[in-house]
Amino acid sequence: MRDTENPQARTIIALNAVTKSFGAVQALKGITANIREGEFFSLLGPSGCGKTTLLRMIAGFDEPTTGTIAIDGKPMAGIAANHRPTNMVFQSYAIFPHLSVADNVGYGLKKRRLPKAEYRREVEQALEMVDLGGYGPRAAHTLSGGQRQRVALARALIMKPKVVLLDEPLSALDKKLRDQMQLELRQLQRSVGITFILVTHDQEEALIMSDRIAVMFDGQIEQLATPEDLYRRPVNQRVASFIGVMNFLGAQVSGSDENQVSLDVQALGRIDIPRAGLPEGMKPEDIHRVGVRPEMMTILIDSATTAERIIEGEVVETSYYGDMTYYAVRLIGLEEPVTISMRNTAGRAVLRPGEIARVGFATDSIILFR
């Protein structure tokens, strides 16, 4: 287990009941969270959820309306961005177009008045760290999008900040480059060991890169957890449908004793849940819906294969992705089709719309919701 997954790791940023209002609009409604030293932390949410506002307050471009932000134990109230131990990678990268690559990277170092040789060495090292060794003399405006992103990163890292803040740094790149940069950024973060805080609206990006993710809606953190926890144990329907795809089915409690709770679930029938399987703070009578992930259901190809539960349904739509096929299947007794994903293993036929599918699932794969 990595350091950062250790809850005992030191807190580098402490957010305490942070709110921010712009006129009558409350953009942040009380954010409390501890970000740990050395972790890759993501603020994930749809646009307008306040994630960028929060990042800008950590950077020092804005002050909270109420609440406090402490970095490395020091309260940050009244300390402007140029005196905070944080550096930002902007969404537009904000590479200074009138300077060379080296002057961009060394921009912040210039203030520290290092000897010339040392300055040059530091800049070259920073460029090599982001795979741009030898690019120093180039004019900044000649760089490609991916290269700009690296320069922006080198320019932040060279300052040896306690925290690097990344504001949707990959959103301007095309898909292929984005996938590659996700891995590179992750590796870089591990090798330098500096805390990274990433703001993104892309759940896949957050899942791939982060140690922990804070999912934000309407100026509040809805859930703060590891990627795996978020995916497997989302606290509510909003989080569940934002992270990946989730099929929701209506459910009613049909009986309960001290050992288990019996649910009557739409289309799936009766499912018994052990009491211990209930999420913390949830009582049996709270359960009104269950969720099933697309990959937790299987389309059984021949009558010989079997599963714990089998239901029939009609294929409504087939989306072929190459490695995967996504089916929309209308289960018997259900209006809305459910989404089922299947890996396209060798020899597996792809079902066409109109065909009848036998859908198998395991009862322990369902997630309970209020």
Binding site: A80, A81, N82, M88, S92, P97, H98, G108, H141
Partner: protein
């Protein structure tokens, strides 16, 4: 089909006629500047550079040129500095009555100059100030500042606000940020503004005529010489020089504006609402 061609022909004719009407008189200026006759009429009588030689020896003209340069340089510098502040403020901040205030600042663009000139004259006299080249500078700053704001406004609007934030984030002070990032990035706009306001001030007549004391600027001098028919050819020569100079300055200003646009990765061929 033929209908469409007809329409196109009409448009072409209109465009050509319009251009001739606009520029033919201007072309007459250099033609008569090199004509050896003192009478401004066709047919041309011969080629001469005599009129340019006359300019060389006219002292009153030289002092008018000096006055004009003093006024133009002062007006250009002051209005560009004022424009820099205003454009930065409008681009970065929103403040109460922003539109109203900007509207008032930009008003001299559309206000008849004669009204500005008369109004300023009355105010200056009421204040008991004596008329001089500096009162002309004052008037010129008033009409040049809107142009300066228009040019610099487009330079600031094209400036990504995160540029300044990035600099500040990297430990630079606000003044240092202006010096190392903001100013270099809007510099082409500043030069362009200086050139445009310089040109406007240099050939402005009405305000200069109303507000000057005993020292005259070049356009006022030219106007005063128009009364003497014998002087006309040398005025033509002077006009030719001014024409060349003005065109050169405006081309230079446009080059700087485009360079700043290219540097910011914008499409240089757009005028961004200017001109």
């Amino acid at each position: 089909m033929s209908n469409r061609r007809n329409k196109l022909n009409w448009l072409n004719t209109y465009a050509v006629v319009y251009m001739v009407f606009l520029y033919a008189p201007v072309v007459l200026l250099p033609i008569f500047a090199f004509n050896s006759s003192t009478i401004i009429a066709f047919p041309l009588s011969g080629f001469t550079t005599e009129w340019f030689g006359v300019l060389w020896t006219t002292d009153a003209l030289h002092s008018a040129v000096r006055n004009s340069l003093l006024v133009a340089v002062s007006a250009a510098t002051i209005s560009t500095v004022l424009g820099l502040f205003a454009a930065r403020a409008v681009a970065r901040y929103s403040f109460p009555l922003e539109r109203g205030i900007m509207g008032l600042i930009m008003l001299p663009l559309v206000l008849p100059e004669i009204i500005i000139a008369v109004a300023l004259l009355i105010v200056l006299i009421q204040l008991g100030l004596s008329l001089s080249l500096w009162t002309v500078v004052l008037g010129h700053v008033l009409i040049c500042t809107p142009f300066s704001i228009a040019v610099l406004g487009s330079a600031f609007r094209g400036l990504d606000p995160s540029m300044e934030e990035a600099s500040f984030d990297l430990g630079e002070t606000r003044w240092g940020t202006f010096r190392r990032v903001t100013f270099p990035l809007v510099l082409p706009g500043v030069i362009s503004s200086l050139l445009i306001t310089f040109t406007i001030s240099l050939d402005e007549f009405i305000i200069a005529f109303f507000l000057t004391g005993t020292d005259v600027t070049l356009p006022v001098y030219i106007w005063s010489q128009m009364r003497f028919p014998a002087k006309l050819p040398s005025i033509m020569a002077l006009g030719t020089i001014l024409l060349g100079l003005t065109v050169a300055l405006l081309i230079l200003a446009e080059i700087f504006r485009r360079r700043s646009a290219t540097r910011r990765g914008l499409d240089a061929s757009t005028t961004e609402g200017l001109v």
